[in-house]
Amino acid sequence: MIVTIARTELRRMFASVLAWSILALVVLVLGLLFSVYVETFLTVIQPRLAAQPGAPGVTDSVVAPLILMAGVLMLVVSPLLTMRSLSEERQTGTFVLLRSSPVSATQIVLGKYLGLLGFLAVLMAILALFPAALALGTALDWGKAGAGMLGLFLLIGSFLAAGLYVSSLTAVPTLAALGSF
């Protein structure tokens, strides 16, 4: 039952312009930052580090700040995702379908959250392409990059959970977005 709700949630997200715009925006901003970081690394940082043994490498100076920026960006973007989930359903009256069906409140909330995590998984898969692109040209510290990605996943997961909670409090999506921000 939870999976059913999550799957429909995910399907509806990708049926809307919003999800695609969010993906596009995130990839655009992070892509720009990524190229700036790579450029800085090649022209400024690398020549200085070349002399020192055991100095921080490309993972520290490109992947780590990229993940940091992704976290900051999602702080702004995740309310846009969560505002839909419960308050929009109440505003358009579709919540009645769930309420009149044999599902419990727990199942509804978990289903919604799982759907959001599904979207997050797609987003993370795209973000993982950035470090993967670096790996084509250089040796990456996979442990560090992986830990960073995991941390980012959990961080955004917590944003989404908080956003979902705020979304349950009001029937006005815009208010829900503001509140969770």
Binding site: T8, R12, T94, S101
Partner: protein, 307 residues
Amino acid sequence: MPIEARHLFRFYDRHCAVRDLDLHLSRGEVLGLLGPNGAGKSTTLQMLSGTLAPHAGQIRIDGIDLLESPQEARRRLGFLPERPPLYRDLTVDESLDYAARLRRIPAREVAAAVGQSKARCGLGSVGRRLIGNLSHGYRQRVGIAQAIVHAPAVVILDEPTNGLDPIQIHEMRQLIRDLAREHSVILSTHILPEVEAVCDRVQILVHGRSVFDSPLSELAQAEASAYRLRFAHPPQHAQLSAVEGVTVAEAVSSGRIRVRLEAETGVEALVRRSVELGWGLRELVPEGESLEGVFTRLVYADRGAAP
């Protein structure tokens, strides 16, 4: 019994929307819930469908207590609220599929259930269209298809013909009559002819209270004691009253006269006299205690004022 509700109460702040309401629905019956706006029809249906908790009272769906085991009870009912709960960004098929799964239809039977409910609601050709692009009439049908996809014992429809054009209304009524063959139906409306067209029994709510509850067949029997007449050359009321079998004659609007008859044979005497004296009878309409009469009487009685 598909629905049995006793002593329902529901308050909004201090305003009492539903007061001590008893309601029951027999198998295969279509019950019409009638009342002026704000009488508590929607509130009642929301409580019966488990989407709104009553403040007091008991509801049993197919013998299962809705408040004690809501999940079991909800499986047995389908609800179409005033605004159909439809996701505009899903197609008809997707949305029915979702509804079927939410109602715990086993995965293998979902496709069959969706197909069947689409066929019953005349949605065969629009399965792949987005709900957001459908006309109002079709959306209403998708709403009903969603409510019956799991073949519930009880179908609850809140103003199902609201906002439809006359042809769609006709089709919707046909559909509701069809539903009654397999399900018990309870619907709310403020359109009187609708009740007469589709319902077996009518219950009238005024200010959250049930003020009238009767099968329509009994109502029909009580009818036809009064007639409305129009003449080319209207006679004096005294002349009319003098006709054998006519008890009261009174003027109603625009040259029409209402008479009450003791028996149906009075009609013959009246027509004969009209021909003899050249009154020129043009209209003879049986009136009696129609549903409209009952309704107006009850609503106004409650307001404590005459119409």
